[in-house]
Subunit: 317 residues, 4 copies
């Protein structure tokens, strides 16, 4: 079977870095482009980081195109803290190889459209940052929707939030874009929420093993200091969540996450629940809202962590 | 120790019925008044039901005063179904004794104020319906707040909803009132959410034992048919939740529920999360909102069910 | 004809002061109580000011009862400036007579209810501050609604705002209370918005004449310095609006304002139009919302100013 | 001076038809493209109508590209009535010439970007429908903003609404897009609201003169029956508003409308003021929101109507 065509839309970001290495090391997918978006840090940094990470894994043949520098409708709210460091890579971005390839001059949305248009088979898109670029793609090129295999989205929290009590950072960063993509479109979606990614957190032993696996693993782990410190507080143990990498695992091995079909809605009001993903898990329906999508709710966690470690620690070129 | 003075603000309702019997059978509390509110059914029915239930337990000495027939700001949204039956008591209200005592002619809020004003020690109030009356009390009589021992509120859902995907019926029925009481006031509050009350659901064996305990237990169980049918679907097993009775257990035996202190907020926007109680359980705080109150998160469930059964099945007069 | 029974619910305030003098000097009305509310300044000040103003006009027989110190649901937003001075009376409150009568010990809502209950004929209520007390009255004592002749409300702006681009101060100070009263109830309402009260502004000649009319007129005008300075900027001429007094003129001489019946709604969202009164003046109806009330849209302005001057400058005792 | 490059973004629509004829007949502008959007009727109809209108004026050299079929974030709300007829052209679209030219295969946003990119001087864009395409353009191609001379937007109502009490149809149809364009961007904007376009309404004499001016004028007036009937009710006289044509007049003769600079905001909440444009006309600023743009507030109305008649009735080819 030929590898599955893939575009990753990303705001690197520590866990994006892990996800991109995972994708680059996995023969099941054919990474056709990276598109970047504001998010963990500003667009210039996320775009530079995407290029650095491709240089790290020797995949500078993959085009990188810059997308939205801000949300669709409202300004980006200030972030309380830069848990990914000032540069998005734990302050250690400069430790990665200097990129040799230029940024694609086209906007992300054109590159996404172009990849879809040229593809012989439907393309998987993995949005692992705010969903602004994806909303723009679907709004500007609705005729290309049949060329999308599915969207495997890292975002949302059903029972928990991170940036607010009820909202996860990616969705909260552009709730209007998220609503357009998750609720208003009929493209197949798998949503990978933090309820699950927190449960898949990796511990220091896992990170040590990765660091010792070779230069790529060592580089990745070298980026994690501030991020790890933050998760130590959030999770109350020495572990860190690899959110975006969990979503990429599902891209690479469809079914590795157990999903449930449920109606989801995104709160776009400007009150305290702004940016919340509502997942309706009730058995019987009153006041049901939104659209039914697949939500990842469980996995064989040990097997998943082993898979991630095995792939990230390999050195496929 | 003298019994704890208590007012129950209620919209009976099946689980309210269980809660009122529990209160009436418990020597630890001195039930000084019932105040009624719209909710499970209209105010006329909830007021009649409150009187019927006092007649059932032989406590027609307790004054009953009718309160709000509607929410503070917006009309009451239509309910999808009458899970408490047309009359609020499973269609079996007429099976209870006909009340002999008149309704107190004063509005609920005056009776609440009067009980507080006359009390020698602080009074516990147990709001087990929409919180409209309590918001009116606190807004009209702020000087009486020191006379409130605490509010033990049945309402909200931290990870789940019932009437919507994220909202519980009592809070959703008047979110503005709930916000005033839970977030804007400094009166001590224990919130008993459906996350816990669902876990305390009782099964058919428990109900059979109660039915066989005597005429009061038999009457109570005789009200439950439609309510039980609904919970069978919601909980996917033959069990029913005694929400309001769980809150009353905490009133009668403070500490029987294990509480955590957390910041709560109530969403009053008119979007999909309207009426949601946000409980912030994150370890570290970004974008924290609301006020810190006690939220009941756990209990020795078997002991609690045994306590409920023992009290409801007794016949203290 | 016997004088019309009246309660004024007020947050004095300069224009409230003019309105109270107008009411006290008008034989057509029988002022049965003043109830006070937070607003232009805090509740303690508005209550003290109400008593000072009754002392000024020799009407300390009228009971004064303190009501809400804050809005129903949300905290009072900070005011940009104290255009009524630190004490609500242009910094000159102490120039008025020291009150001799005590504050009524009952909450405003009880006094309002008591006046209604005792009245032989329906009572006019003139809410000329935030409508919190009136919402509490209607919510707690719905059975007394037939005893209300009408509410003559100073508030709102159809085409203009003052505290925000679209909202007037009284409504904006408690939009939820305003919505309850204006939209949800069936009590007759006349709304006197700033569109009209701005057109009824009085100039320095008018004020000079009032100041020379006697001690009461002199006292009133002596309170106006900061308020006048503010209106000089807002209106771009040396004139000041007597908002609340315009509403009282309608109470005293029903029909002195020309009213149109229109559907009104109050925006209670937390976005930029919060606190706006929507008056639907379209000829044909799509998406109509709210309730039809009377809105004052015009008057014989010169005759109205002459009436105000004549009454305020008189010395009826 | 060379003609001003222009793109009209349109949802024809009767008044769009007048506007397009005006643009086509005016040598001051060089019409480089029409982009279409959902609005008065669906996208297929507005796109067909745009082509029919170019055929009518003999300008099928101008490319037509189809844009958004729906709003950015929420579904399009149902319209109360089709005041532009079932086909958007008063049910008379088939009376216009059958288009000979194909639709441009690219999405509107690409055509807009392409025109901007190729232009030697900044391009005027006239959005005279919902602003979805313009929001997508600015979000996807921020680097092209300096190539925009200005946006001359037909939309909003400062003191009045049409589709709701406070909202105008174009803005209400996609408030999120309007907010992005009007409030969040720094591109120069002239907003032409219905407050002014209603005052510029034309009467039956004007329409008769246009009908007698030649075949184009006759065709235009032949489309107006249902639209005219609607405005007869809305304006209470036999006149109809040429909203979009008023905006185009400003494009063709900059300064023909008198503008005031004011801060504007767009209400995107889901309450009763949804889609309202807030224009802050207060002299002094408290709680100011939004961005300062130019808003057309007045014109020499007779001269403007004469200009429109002269141009539409001409037959420049
Ligand atoms: Ca990410
Ligand atoms: Ca209840
Ligand atoms: Ca006032
Ligand atoms: Ca149009």
């Amino acid at each position: 079977m030929s590898p599955r065509p893939l575009v990753v839309d990303t705001d690197p970001g520590i866990d994006d870095a892990f996800a991109l290495v995972l994708a680059a090391h996995s023969p099941e997918v054919d990474l056709r482009a990276l598109t970047t978006v504001f998010g963990n840090v500003g667009l210039e940094s996320t775009t530079l980081n995407a290029r650095r990470l491709l240089a790290l894994v020797g995949r500078e043949d993959v085009p990188v195109a810059a997308g939205a520098a801000r949300p669709l409708v409202y300004p980006q709210p200030p972030r309380a803290a830069l848990i990914h460091g000032d540069d998005g890579l734990g302050g250690q971005g400069a430790s990665l190889p200097t990129p040799g390839a230029e940024v694609d001059p086209r906007p992300a949305v054109e590159v996404l459209a172009d990849v879809l248009r040229r593809a012989d088979e439907p393309v998987t898109i993995a949005p692992i940052g705010p969903m602004t670029n994806i909303a723009l793609l679907l709004a500007s090129y609705p005729e290309l929707k049949p060329k999308i295999e599915r969207l495997v989205v890292m975002g949302g929290g059903l029972e928990i939030g991170n940036i607010t009590a009820t909202a996860e950072f990616n969705i909260w960063s552009d709730p209007e874009a998220a609503r357009r993509v998750l609720v208003e479109e009929d493209v197949p979606v798998v949503l990978v929420p933090i309820d699950l990614t927190h449960r898949c957190a990796v511990d220091s032993e896992w990170l040590d093993t990765l660091a010792n696996s070779g230069p790529v693993g060592e580089s990745l782990v070298g980026l994690t200091a501030p991020y790890r410190a933050n998760y130590r507080k959030a999770l109350s143990r020495d572990a860190m969540a690899l959110h975006d990498a969990v979503a990429l695992a599902e891209v690479i091995q469809p079914g590795i996450l157990r999903c449930e079909r449920m109606a989801v809605e995104v709160e776009c009001g400007v009150g305290p629940t702004r940016g919340m993903v509502i997942g309706d898990r009730r058995n019987h329906s009153t006041n049901r809202v939104g659209r039914e999508i697949e939500v990842a709710v469980d996995a064989d966690l040990d097997a998943l962590r082993a898979f991630l470690l095995d792939r990230m620690g390999s050195s496929r070129r």
